[in-house]
């Protein structure tokens, strides 16, 4: 192939091409580079990497160029891990706004007979792929936010719980009927995870979710994963006594699973602490009150030695 033809090809290529000699001096800078760097090839010729890209000295790209020139190794610099190493811009507006083009960079050694070793740096614009993945990521998280089921345990998730509690709260307000809430926290779960590993930790939570569900049999009762090792139960039309009975049944059910836990401070098996609150909501009440009360009761259960059930009582009122 003729030299002029080769030059034509390099000019037409829709990618940046820079060739460095063994001393890391630029010997070639194609038209795409001129266009996106706003630096003409004539000015680049013979300049060293260090002079042209002072910010990139000893950076990942520089190391890759050295690996090519000294060790003969090819390198790949992904956009994901390096973003935009070279000061290249899609258009004049981006130059003004300092918005760099997203880049994938390939550095390859060049071995040509009768010449000292060179290397070629090839830069590709991956902005399209980056925005496509961003879209994909947004869609995935949107889909995730719409789901009502906890992916790991298969029971209701936090979002479903929030929606359900709102519904039942409104219904209880209308009917002036009692609404109860149980907050459940697995005892010494961090120690379980640390010692038995996350996989066993996950299995443990799945078993507990099953045990909790097995206690409930009314259609509007709901057990949900509140987060981490916390579960919560919504019990419509249930007064304090009814809620305490269910909570105690749940506590016993978890203990009855007999999941070995040698690092628990309270038992040989996995156990849980439960806090219960009940409210007949009036027009001033908010769901937050009920959740906060159950949380306080759970805290009391933890303080009273764990593996137990505590009912919330408003001390100020009773004193």
């Amino acid at each position: 192939m003729q030299l002029s033809l080769l030059q034509g090809v390099l000019k037409a290529v829709r990618a940046g091409i820079i060739v460095f000699d063994a001393e890391q001096r630029i010997v070639f800078w194609n038209q795409w580079m001129e266009q996106h760097s706003q630096m003409p090839a004539a000015d680049m010729q013979g300049k060293s990497f260090t002079d042209v890209f002072p910010d990139m000295v000893d950076g990942r790209t520089h190391v890759a160029i050295r690996a090519a020139l000294e060790n003969n190794f090819a390198s790949l610099l992904s956009q994901t891990l390096n973003k935009a190493p070279f000061p290249l811009y899609a258009n004049a507006a981006d130059v003004a706004n300092h918005v760099r083009m997203q880049q994938a960079v390939h550095v390859m050694p060049l071995e040509i007979a009768s010449l000292s070793r060179h290397c070629v740096v090839q830069i590709t614009d991956v902005s399209m792929a980056v925005s496509r993945e961003k879209k994909l990521r947004e869609l995935a998280s949107e889909l995730e936010s719409q789901t009502l089921v906890d992916g790991m345990t298969g029971i209701a998730n936090r979002r479903r719980f929030d929606l359900h509690l709102d519904d039942e709260f409104r219904r209880a307000k209308r009917n002036t009927s009692p609404l109860s809430l149980i907050m459940i926290d697995v005892d010494y779960f961090k120690d379980y995870n640390d010692n038995y590993g996350h996989q066993h930790g996950d299995q443990c939570l799945v078993q507990i979710a099953g045990a909790l569900s097995s206690v409930l049999n009314r259609s509007r009762d709901l057990v949900a994963r509140y987060g981490g090792e916390e579960f919560t139960v919504v019990l419509p039309d249930t007064n304090e006594d009814g809620a305490m009975q269910i909570a105690e049944a749940m506590r016993a059910e978890i203990e009855g699973l007999q999941i070995e836990h040698a690092y628990s401070g309270v038992a040989k098996f996995v156990t849980a602490s439960l806090g219960v609150s009940t409210l007949v909501p009036d027009h001033m009440s908010k769901t937050g009150t009920l959740i906060h009360a159950a949380d306080r009761a759970l805290y009391q259960a933890k303080r009273s030695g764990r593996n137990c059930v505590v009912m919330y009582s408003d001390k100020k009122k009773s004193e």
Partner: protein, 204 residues
């Protein structure tokens, strides 16, 4: 199966630890977090044994980054992680949590770069110790069982696989992976000769 003398074995472990140490430093710079890597052991196994250890019989899926090296000797090099571990590594390095169960296109490229850094560092350390020249290709990403991946170089191939267990630590996560080099008989002899030369120079 092929065996090295204790001295040769220790020299090789030392060289590869030097290599992954450099790779870890490069990766730390990328993520701005401490990344550490070590090679606790190396073994020589047949391709079938390696595939078995990687859970091929149970259909366990592996993410692999492959590179070809030639010059002082020829080898196909692989960095391999169980697929779920490669998700963990890439997402720890990128700092994003995506619930997709496979690496996206851009994440595959990031994984390729991680493999590229590790394989180049290992082979670079070896080439330097041997005082020899090696040429390294660009990395390619593959997913499949260990059998699928190690079978890339053809069914008839019957050499030895040099396997490095890699202990990878990032943000308090410990992840084990493997680097494997496929070595045919001539490559194995070259390798052994280079280690002997290196040891001779050390004792010098």
């Amino acid at each position: 199966m092929f065996q090295l003398s204790e001295l040769q074995h220790d020299a090789l472990v030392e060289i590869f630890n030097l290599g992954v140490g450099r790779a870890a430093a490069a990766m730390s710079r990328i993520v701005g977090e401490e990344v550490s890597m070590s090679v606790p052991m190396i073994t020589f196994q047949s391709r079938a044994e390696v595939a078995k250890a990687l859970g091929s019989a149970e259909g366990r899926r592996i993410s692999a980054v492959a590179q070809h090296f030639e010059g002082a000797f020829h080898t196909e090099a692989f960095l391999m992680f169980p697929e779920e571990k490669s998700l963990e590594i890439v997402r720890l390095m990128v700092g994003q949590s995506l619930s997709l169960e496979e690496l996206s296109e851009m994440e595959q490229e990031a994984m390729s770069e991680i493999g590229n850094i590790i394989l180049n560092s290992c082979m670079g350390a070896f080439a330097n110790a041997a005082g020899k020249e090696l040429r390294g290709s660009l990395p390619t990403y593959h997913a499949g069982t260990g059998d699928d991946i190690l079978g890339l170089s053809g069914k008839e191939w019957d050499g030895v696989v040099l396997t490095l267990k890699i202990d990878f630590n990032i943000e308090r996560h410990h992840i084990y992976g493997y680097v494997a080099f496929l070595l045919d008989m001539p490559a194995l002899q070259d390798l052994q000769r280079y280690i002997d030369d290196y040891l001779a120079r050390l004792m010098g």
